[in-house]
Symmetry: C2
Subunit: 370 residues, 2 copies
């Protein structure tokens, strides 16, 4: 366990002065808890970019060598927030250094790589956390508890309609082109759909049977910030149907781009009532969701998240909120020995389910069904 | 072709003084066009019930013998509106009598019976119409034309969420118990889902691939008007995913019972725009639907059905409206030789697709996956 007399020292691999997810979410989340966390080091791809980030965020120790970040004596927790294809090699430094590591989701490019990363952490006894922050979001935790407490009774069915959002709708920014490439492991399937799937199964249990269609319908994607056009191979349509282990009948439909009114709607219908989860985007990991419910024939009513689910004073509509709640739980886990935050082993379970969906699916790319 | 100097004489098999679909929809629809149709005869299961219905609706010729109804010289069109298991034997009278016949959907209990009925009409050269009235509803015809005219561009995806309604939600009226019995052919799959599927494929084309889950989740259904409990075998959950021949990716989820807010929502997303069809129930054949759409990044706007699609002064929110529009088109077909109304052959195509879904499906009954 980590020393609790001072804040946990954090080293972030992949913090850029230009912004990005680490800057938007992680730095803000960590700095909301100065009594619990202190960012002590960062690494970036070059010494200059690392120095620029250090200046931007006021972090003294900067490096382009992940191993030296891991080795820094004040780093108690290594955070990996780079693009997915680099997760494996960077997490390996933390594992070799024997330090607890928090890696963003997806853990690896596919099930095989994710399993290898998790096995490596397990073999070395390194404490691991994965960035499936949806499970930490107050609204999602409340939702799961409502279901577990029998609010809807037995689950009869559940329906999810979600939007993947901007880069998968036929236009993209050039720096996001990699999420259109199915080989990177950072796609609409693994990111928005994967985060939702993780929270969904955490709340409702796993699938006994499933079937799926995946398709790349926008096969030529233009950039809004250049003249280029890229050939997309990642799915921009995901349809999954199936039966949960508990018997509930499920349908998912994720669509690329944004949709008016229904960027995210998740219905859970049971023998005693129903719950509706709505959000501004299909990215459930942001945690920007609202709950409504009814029991019996009551009218639908808003279900505000009770105060005890909010452990941090961060902005519930901000990108840092679910990440901050995840770090708050990481602090608990590291200082008490609890295991409340999803580990690499949990990540592998969700990778396994995504892999099962890919194997089950009719796969249409460039108009051809494979 | 039928004589156009006087109204087409109609004989209704299955009109009851107690009400029901024939009384609610067919009588009202036919009587909205006294210049085009006149109800000349009715049959019911006993002489007394036939006489009672004749008194209630002012129809002179009543009988319990369908053959004599068909043989009546003033009957130009035989209408069959009884429970599905009796369609085959009653339609056979019209076919033997060589008279045009309008049979409610579903045509038969299954694909095999429906195919036999259609083949029999074909062999005898009898003009047939099937009660897939959704195709006649003004809003559905307008929707199909919008799609054909390129309003949404190429169809990228389509999502349908519908409710089967009252009898499939875990409680029923005793006289509706037969729709919970999968062997009757009158189930949530064939009735609300089947009508929707027919209109869907009429507007968007057929499926190149599909997969499905069917389940009976409410296996014990209580009656609100008696102490009895019946064992249900008809599906009350229908999930279908697939790829259209044109490449569009589709998901359907029909749920038993009613749902707040989303009893029917059908989204059609294309390269140029999108359409949203909403209704008060999942029974698209009632035609109580509203259209909205947008092209490009425009806001969603209501798309009122243009006046030319309304051929009848019936109430657009009433059960008779789509049926009246269907009869209006039947009159055209019978007097001009056109073929605008779906025939038994069209019905077989939709039965074939339902059969394909049943064969493809994971089927869960009484908690056991077959």
């Amino acid at each position: 366990m980590v020393n609790t007399t001072k804040p946990i020292g954090v080293g972030i691999i992949g913090l850029s002065a230009k912004g990005g997810w680490a800057a938007t979410a992680h730095v803000e989340a960590l700095r909301a808890m100065p009594d619990r966390f202190a960012i002590k080091a960062l690494s970036a791809s070059t010494p200059d970019s690392a120095k620029a980030a250090g200046g931007a965020y006021g972090i003294d120790f900067t490096t382009d060598d992940p191993a030296s970040l891991v080795a820094h004596p004040e780093v108690d927790l290594v955070v990996v927030t780079v693009k997915v294809p680099h997760h494996g090699e960077l997490v390996a430094h933390a594992i070799e250094g024997g330090k607890p590591v928090y890696c963003e989701w997806p853990l690896g490019c596919d099930l095989e790589e994710s399993s290898a990363i998790a096995a490596s952490a397990e073999a070395r006894g390194v404490r691991s956390f994965v960035g499936l922050q949806g499970r930490s979001a107050p609204a999602v935790r409340y939702l799961r508890d409502l279901i577990a407490q029998g609010y809807v009774g037995d689950v009869i069915s559940s329906t999810v309609i979600g939007s993947g959002g901007f880069p998968w709708g036929g236009v993209a920014m050039a720096n996001m082109a990699y999420v259109l490439d199915d080989t990177t492991g950072a796609t609409m399937l693994s990111i928005p759909f994967g985060h939702m799937l993780d929270a969904f199964t955490w709340a409702l249990g796993g699938f006994s049977r499933l079937h799926a269609s995946l398709a790349t319908r926008h096969v030529s994607v233009g950039f809004i910030d250049s003249e280029d056009v890229v050939s997309a191979t990642a799915p921009d349509q995901i349809v999954v149907g199936g039966i949960l282990e508990g018997g509930g009948v499920v349908s998912f439909h994720y669509r690329g781009g944004d949709a008016p009114e229904q960027n995210f709607r998740w219905e859970i219908c049971g023998t005693k009532g129903m719950l509706i989860v709505e959000g501004d985007s299909g990215h459930l990991q942001y945690g920007h969701v609202r709950l409504r419910g009814r029991q019996g024939a009551d009218p639908l009513a808003s279900l505000p998240v009770p105060a005890e689910y909010r452990r941090m004073p961060t902005d519930p509509s901000g990108y840092a909120d679910a990440v901050a709640h995840a770090y708050r739980a990481v602090h608990d886990d590291l200082t008490t020995g609890l295991s409340t935050v999803p580990s690499f082993t949990d990540a592998v379970e969700t990778h396994r389910l995504l892999d099962r969906i890919e194997r089950a699916a009719d796969w249409t790319r460039r108009g051809v069904t494979e």
